[in-house]
Symmetry: C2
Subunit: 189 residues, 2 copies
């Protein structure tokens, strides 16, 4: 299970790290074999509030990963019109699992990955997402292997849902306990 | 309101970013004037699962900040015996607000900042924290201007509690809404 965590200038760090934590625990806590990379089109990425995040792979072929994860951020609304960025994202068309949180869903949508799907995004972006798919308001929406989360902090719920999808409920519970995360919500639709 | 976010090799990224998000929104959403720096004794810090985090200030005098925040991580249990690290942390003795989450509380304790205080940490580290202070099990514990959070994900609750301490409940509610965070728990003791 190899995962690509996409980052870019203007992402929201918590969108990214909220899911990165539980998903990578699958590896660090020994549940699954696999590797993960922080992937971008640039050597570094600066998130909200100036936080700089190291990039492992610059401009990789995203199709070489099993799981694609795309966070949101204030830059996402502009990246939906960035042809080169979308072209790069589309190299992940063959990823078995595609996921996003917050306005990252707009990027999945603009890449064409939400065609005919149900998905969610930050409540402030529901209108924008309607261009690409059937918009839902649940905190985590799984439609086949396309799994999306609502706003910023729902990234944790999204990550735990992906953990459960890749393993089982018991593993999700154990990882949530290690994260000291008592919350959660049913996955829709 | 200037904040120092301490990082180090072996921190847990979500411990850090969970609080970084709401606290820095005080500035980016225009509630408070202030700056914040990612501070470390090294030019970069590598968190759990290999995530590299950029450092703004190397070896700064932490006493120049109003708020000190210390995340936990697998390295924290060793850093409690690192005299040079603790000496650096103690430069923050005059910070008006001192905060930590997860095993970061062991570092606040080893620095002497929890003497005579009530505090919390990751449930797996309650025993270790007893050496330094009165250990509580609430998700966020505020004892005067020393505010601590329990395990990893409670960093969000901690950050929102700090937001409320520095402003008011209405601001906390607005920031939590922007973060799409519907959860929360009363602050103890």
């Amino acid at each position: 299970m190899n995962a690509a965590f996409v980052v870019y200038d203007g992402l929201t760090a918590l969108d990214f790290v909220g899911a990165f934590d539980p998903i990578t625990r699958l590896g660090t806590m020994g549940y699954l074999d696999g590797e993960w990379d922080v992937c971008a089109r640039t050597p570094t990425a600066t998130a909200n509030a100036g936080l700089r995040i190291g990039v492992d792979e610059v401009d990789p072929d995203l199709g070489e990963y099993d799981l694609l994860f795309v966070p949101g951020g204030y830059a996402a609304r502009e990246l939906v019109s960035d042809g080169q960025f979308l072209e790069w994202l589309r190299t992940g068309v063959d990823c078995e699992y595609k996921s996003s949180v917050c306005t990252g869903s707009l990027l999945l949508g603009a890449a064409g990955f939400l065609d005919g799907r149900a998905a969610t995004t930050h409540p402030s972006a529901y209108g924008l997402l309607e261009e690409y798919c059937d918009v839902r308001s649940e905190r985590v929406v799984a439609d086949g292997n396309v799994i999306t989360g609502r706003g910023v902090s729902s990234s944790i719920d999204l990550g735990l849902s992906i953990v459960e999808t890749l393993t089982d409920r018991e593993t999700r519970t154990e990882i949530a306990e290690q994260m000291d995360y008592p919350y959660g919500e049913a996955v829709g639709p």
